[in-house]
Amino acid sequence: MNDTLANTEKKTAYILTLPAVLLVFAIILFPIFANVWISFKEVELKDIRIPEPRAKKIVKSISNEPSKIKILYKLRNSSLLQEIRDVSFKDNFPKNFEIENLDSRCEYIKSSLKCEFGNWPAKYKENFQVIFSTKDGSKIDKKSLKSIKPKLDGKSDNILLNTNFTLKNFKKVLFENEFVDLLLTTFYYTFFGTVGSIIFGILTAQMVNQKFYGRTFMRSVLLFPYVAPVVALAYTWELLLDPNSGTLNSLLLNYQIIETPINLLGQKYIEIGIFGFDFKLRLALTTVIMFEIWRYFPLAFLFILARLQAIPKELYEAADVDGASPLQKFFNITLPQIMAVISILFMIRFIWNFNKFEDVFLLTGGASGTRTLPINVYQQGFAISDIGMGSAVSIVIVLLLLMFMFFYFRLLGKRVDEN
């Protein structure tokens, strides 16, 4: 009895989870494997379309002979690159139709015209013409003839399915793609974005954790950048920072803080002199990181605030009795208590920032030194139309990510052991 119950339980569980598992498998796991496959191939954007045999049907009446009709099929191979093999053709006609000129490749049986056109090379074109007459000499209706569409079929190689593999893409990724620069930019963007958002998160959480008028309102406002659509925010920032008539530059010029406008999103380097040393700051990258911090510190804020509110009040009361200063209280009570959340946040944000595409794409499009790995996937795949290259870069991303996750779970495992 118990056994059958356990069995039905299992069965139900599989039935309940199957749809979700299948969908996730098809859309998320399968593409990751497909990426590996594509990355070893030389595929371009234009190769993706499957070559199709096509026919455009043109019906022409013949003058003085209402019972006869000329039909012209404009045949072509839709692909400019690949041949189509064993093209077959089929079109149906009304029952009272008789064919006048039968092509040697075709046969007319039971009022349907069937042809075997053989192989069509790439860019193949042919005008194929047939003339019909009605058996009883009645008038032909052109419209009804046009509404019947011919069916064509043919075999072609799908470039994605053949087994020609190459290592060219990976060689290109590593040696021709300014790979080190790409990695460094991605790393700066990810690391400083993550650290910045966590620092701001701590500051704001500490702030909201105190009692003041309008605290709940403040909490909502702090989450605005996180919940609003990225498209709207990115374009607003772009307008604010625009060098020609952007609000920020206009304000700075108005107050005579700067003399010429600064192109915050379009300038790769800016020279800064501090204490007689000249630094070259990557300006556009810094701006993009600022946007990133601005948009994602709310998440850190939310997590840290939740943790702060769970810290027992007695700890602080005891510290007050001992005469601890606010700074001492922060470093000796608050910080150790939120350390665990911070380390989790760091890892999560690090992984997500590493993969961030939209923000940089919308702000700079990857120009002026802001080209990160995800941007490169897009550029290779869709701007240069080299799908194979794009896939290879994706694979590099996945590998780096697996590495992070490995370290993350090792770290997490250690933490669990310690507790």
């Binding site: 989870t17 979700a20 990426n35 594509i38 406002v221 919940v227 709207a232 920032w237 996937v377 994706s394």
Partner: protein, 397 residues
Amino acid sequence: MRTKNTIIYSLISTFFLIFLISIWKILATLQGLNINSFNIEVLFILGILISLAHLGIGNRIKLIYKSIIFSSVFVFCDGYLIQKLPIWYNVGVFLILYFFSYKIGKYSFIVLKEEHSTQVILFEFLTLFGILFFSFVILFPFYMMLVTSFKTQIALLVNPLDFSINFGQDIKDLFKSYFVIFKSYKFGKYILTSTIVSVGTVIITLLFAIPAAYAVARLNFFGKTFLSTSILIIYMFPAIVLVIPLYTIFSQLGLRNSIEGLLIVYTATTLPVAIYMLQGYFKSIPKELEEAAILDKLSWFGIITKIIIPLSIPAISSVALYVFMIAWNEFLFSLMFLDNPNTFTLSRAIQYLSGDAETPRQYLMAGSVVVTLPVLFIFVYFEKYLVSGLTAGSVKG
């Protein structure tokens, strides 16, 4: 000790005052006032004088009168030094000074003598500073988005700093950008597409996620732990690595430029987090209820629809709102899969608009307001549900 504390107190409060006045001046400049300098030196001297005078006078005059006197003196000096400015600007300065004097009202020589008083003062001012700073930094872009959408191209070219809205003009002129984007750029259609896609994603995700989450939360089966850990790992995987294979597959299947294609992808990407959030809640429902239901010979389907769903309406609505927001805000897949303007979602439409360099910025901002408002409205209205969803969902972004 007392002198040191007094100096630090007056410096901190002065910096705070300078910050307050500067923000006010920036906002006033953006209303078209001609202010060319912050006059920081003057502000600094006035601030130090006010904070010291406050300590010196102490309790001899009531705080209200003291604040009014300080504010009036400051407004007089400020107004005298800077050119003629409209009365509302001076009223604003007066209110800021009143607020400031009121805030420093609790400090006196006695407070300054206490242990750690400098740090306490520092923290209190930093909190105030932080509240204002973050409110300003966060709300400023949203404010600019809104006011830009009400301006005209010519007005912005004449004075790029004048964002004052003329409420005296015709409603049609005021909302001109909105009329244009709805009429000439078909934003009504894009709103409809975005709504269909987002609501559709919510419905399908819930249909798939509720049974799966129930199984993970309650039933014992082979591969359960594997399933629940892989849910999280999959969630960490980035959309950008899915883009190329999905693009090729969808191209060959003819699913590009279709709402169905978007629905499939959005559902698949939101499913893991939906299952994760829901199973956590389902586990908190007492098991006894279901055991009673099994005795009543209720099927699994009956248990889910009659017990689990009614009991977890808050969690389900939280997931629904969260998924809605993800789908509404999504940009990457809509960029990749849609290139026919007939199937654009709002985000994609705005990006398309901006691709044309000729598009006036106020139209772009009007579009941005249109795409942002529903999300902010939902967020503010359902904040309680969403915040729990955000912390549980934890990582999307």
